[in-house]
């Protein structure tokens, strides 16, 4: 039976103009696991919202579970049977205690007492949150919150789950756990799953993949089949690392099969002699990096034994940094890896003189130790020379036009006229938003990836010596992520020093000269990328996984 039947649906937020979904038709069988792929802004989220009647098409018909979404009386049964989990874990919870949030749906549906208790118990059990049921939602991690959002939907015993990039804000371990849960619900309970995602591993887990482009279905097939297409980039996608690797291997040894899955690749490699894997290693950026022993320049950042406590002196006090040290010499890139809450962001903010240390010694650009007696002028000088790009920096855009926002920081340091225009142009050109084309674009008309670039340009316009980046690629589609890595690579070539916080291990392997593995405010291990990424046990203890090449190596 078809769970979903869409016929010629068209939808525009601004009625009549710029449809986000164009004349789209689609049928889905019950029990299928379908993923929606495509670049930011291709219409994935809108399509999901059409399925459960949060949005109603202006023309065409959407039939979900055999019911027309345009009839108001159908909405309640549709939404009960078709639960939805959204991208941001924080913005979908209504209660301050975990189990009470799970009960929100059943309460709305006026479940009787016994049934409600059973539904809540079961949902918390499946999602592994039973022991946390009395916890305050503000004390849960992003991964736990997202599982709680799922529990809230499961408590209404749905037949179908709509998932809108549900793991894009989670760290690797939490993301894997969430994905495993979804796979189990699909296989064991027969729940139909429709999930929008950018993540190759998640896309490969599905039985059917639909790539969206400008509100239409570009292609429809199995993930394995679609990922082999030549022209993936036009949809913001990149081939999975296993496929790239097997293509490389095939150029070494002609009969090597082209594989998309990591497991299949390691199986195939096991049958080959070790020489072939060595060839793969050689080409990987992780093994091409030379150690930076030659750099004897005076450090521009020197942190010794730094500690930081949030809410110091209150019952809620927690230690965010505990005895952290870091030395960065000009031209180097240090990458901080660790899960949310490991202290990466706190450390970055110390490097920008936004936070002051409770213990330890922070010296920036030879100024220091930074403390309460550091003058405001010195702090402004530090922030001019050491730029900080915060998490989701597109949130800080506030001007109407791109050019004005990029000009904000250089204007603050007193630049005017030609010099100001030159700085703005340089920064915008560098991030790939050509000045002539983008300076007068309204910010709201930019795509997600373009907004990220504009925010980056807004900091680059200061032309500092050091750039601090907090999760720079989080939430971007694979192509935008590669574009960002190109920009950062260009900056490295220009001699800019970088400190990057990330939980994307492949990003760390690609960019780092030194890696600091952080966990609960401490640096567990630091060293060259290949040193740190060889510590597979330490990585998994810290909730991370090794980069692709190290995973394959470990599996062999």
């Amino acid at each position: 039976m078809d769970y979903l039947d869409i016929k010629n649906a068209t939808f525009a937020y601004d009625t009549g103009n710029n449809p986000v979904i164009r004349n789209l038709s689609l049928t889905l069988k019950q029990g299928e696991f379908t993923v929606l792929a495509g670049s930011n802004g291709s219409g994935k989220s809108t399509l999901l919202r059409l399925i459960n009647g949060l949005l109603i098409p202006q023309s065409g018909v959407v039939m979900t579970a055999g019911r027309d979404t345009s009839a108001p009386e159908n909405l309640l049964p549709i939404r009960r049977m078709t639960g939805m989990v959204f991208q941001d874990p924080e913005n979908q919870l209504t209660a301050t205690v975990a189990e009470e949030d799970t009960a929100f749906g059943p309460e709305n549906l006026a479940f009787p007492r016994e049934e409600m208790n059973r539904a809540v118990d079961e949902a918390l059990d499946i999602t592994g949150l039973k022991s946390l049921r009395k916890r305050s939602t503000s004390a849960l991690s992003a991964g736990q919150l997202q599982r709680l959002a799922l529990a809230g939907v499961l408590a209404m015993s749905p037949e179908c789950l709509l998932l809108d990039e549900p793991t894009s804000m989670l760290n690797p371990e939490a993301r894997r756990r969430f994905l495993d849960l979804i796979i189990r619900l699909n296989r064991e309970k027969g729940i139909t799953v429709i999930m929008a995602s950018h993540h190759e591993e998640e896309l490969l887990a599905a039985s059917r993949m639909i790539i969206m482009d400008k509100g239409e279905i570009a292609v429809d097939g199995t993930p394995d089949e679609l990922f082999r297409r030549e022209n993936l980039e036009q949809w913001g996608l990149l081939p999975p690392p296993a496929l790239t690797a097997s293509r490389l291997l095939a150029s070494e040894k002609r009969d090597f099969p082209l594989l998309t899955g990591e497991g299949e690749l390691t199986d195939a490699l096991r049958r080959e002699d070790h020489q072939l894997f060595a060839a793969l290693q050689q080409k990987d950026p992780l093994y091409q990096k030379q150690t930076l022993t030659g750099n004897e320049k005076e450090p521009i950042i020197r942190v010794k034994d730094l500690s930081h406590d949030y809410r110091k002196g209150s019952v809620m006090a927690n230690r965010a940094l505990d005895g952290v040290s870091l030395t960065l010499r000009p031209g180097e890139t240090a990458v901080l890896i660790g899960t949310t809450g490991s202290g990466k962001s706190t450390l970055l903010q110390h490097l920008n003189a936004l936070l002051l240390s409770d213990g330890g010694d922070v010296r920036l650009l030879g100024i220091g130790p930074i403390g309460r007696d550091t003058t405001d002028d010195k702090a402004h000088f530090i922030r001019e020379k050491i730029g900080l790009v915060m998490q989701r920096p597109e949130k800080q855009l506030f001007e109407r036009y791109v050019g004005d926002d990029v000009a904000f920081a250089p204007r603050q340091i007193g630049l005017k006229g030609k010099e100001l225009a030159r700085r703005v142009k340089e920064a915008m050109d560098l991030v790939g938003l050509p000045f002539s084309e983008f300076k007068d674009r309204p910010i709201h008309a930019l795509s997600g990836g373009e907004k990220r670039k504009a925010a980056l340009a807004g900091v680059l316009a200061l032309k500092g010596d050091v750039l601090l980046l907090d999760e720079p690629s989080a939430g971007l589609d694979p192509l935008s992520r590669r574009e960002l890595h190109r920009i950062l690579g260009d900056l490295q070539k220009q001699g800019t020093s970088l400190v990057i916080a990330t939980h994307d291990m492949d990003e760390a392997a690609l960019l780092a000269d030194q890696v600091l593995l952080m966990y609960e405010g401490k640096v567990l291990r630091s060293g060259t990328p290949s040193e740190v990424f060889s510590e597979t046990d330490l990585l998994s203890e810290a909730g991370l996984e090794a980069p692709f090449i190290k995973r394959v190596e470990a599996a062999l």
């Binding site: 309640l76 939805m84 959204f86 209660a95 301050t96 709305n108 936004l354 403390g371 915060m390 800080q396």
Partner: protein, 282 residues
Amino acid sequence: MKELDFSRMFTLGQYLPGTSPLHRLTPQVKLIGIILLTAGLLVTSPVLGTLAGIGLLIILSLIAGIPMKFLFRNALPVLPFLILIALLQLFFTVAGNSPVLYSWGRFTITGAGVLNSLAIFLRFFALMGLLTLFTAVTPSREIGHGTENLTMPLARIGFPAHAFSLIITITFRFIPLLTEETESIMKAQTSRGARIGTAKNPVKRIISYMPILVPLFTASLQRAEQLAEAMEARCFRQGEERTRYVTYRYTLRDGIALGVSILFFGLFLLFRLGQWERVFIQ
């Protein structure tokens, strides 16, 4: 240089988990209790009434197992202002028939003046302590539940009792998120060189807040929209019949607490009406 760490600036209204009889009261009773006692303290006589209030506060804090120090810690930042106001009261209370205790040039200290400045301290500490005690034994969700239960009878005449309590709960849920958001936007703009609120010219000062206000409004609206979508997707409908996951049962403890609250409310009124403090003034 100042630090941008909000968590060190706000410590008010903290819940201290516990199982004391005070913690375990039904939320409705806690709410009625705090309303009665606050109202009583506001109208009661400045010295005897508030002293009785502080006495009650001490007993309650012992029952709840919450140290007095915790109750009054929030008073510290306000103390300098309080002292200033109390001093003004001391020197400038004009009371025709009140005995002059001390006089120096144009300044005179009268019995009424001493009484008034003393009262400011007592009343402030009593109210502050009481409210802190209330939030210390009442988790935010109970404030939502309690309000809903109290306003339920009004639902019959069309009052949206559940929506009202949902607003309270959601407010409690989102305040920390918005604080966090404000902090992160402020940090981002500061690191872009913004000098916020430091200009002397008032127009310039207001303009300097724009880089924070604009993104904050945008982000809040987005959050509101996403939350509304999520609630709708989970079958929320305004005004429809629904059941409740958490329910409360009244016990003897609640009856006693209610009785004590009413008793003290009466006592506070009595102090006001009795006017026994005139003795000090005349």
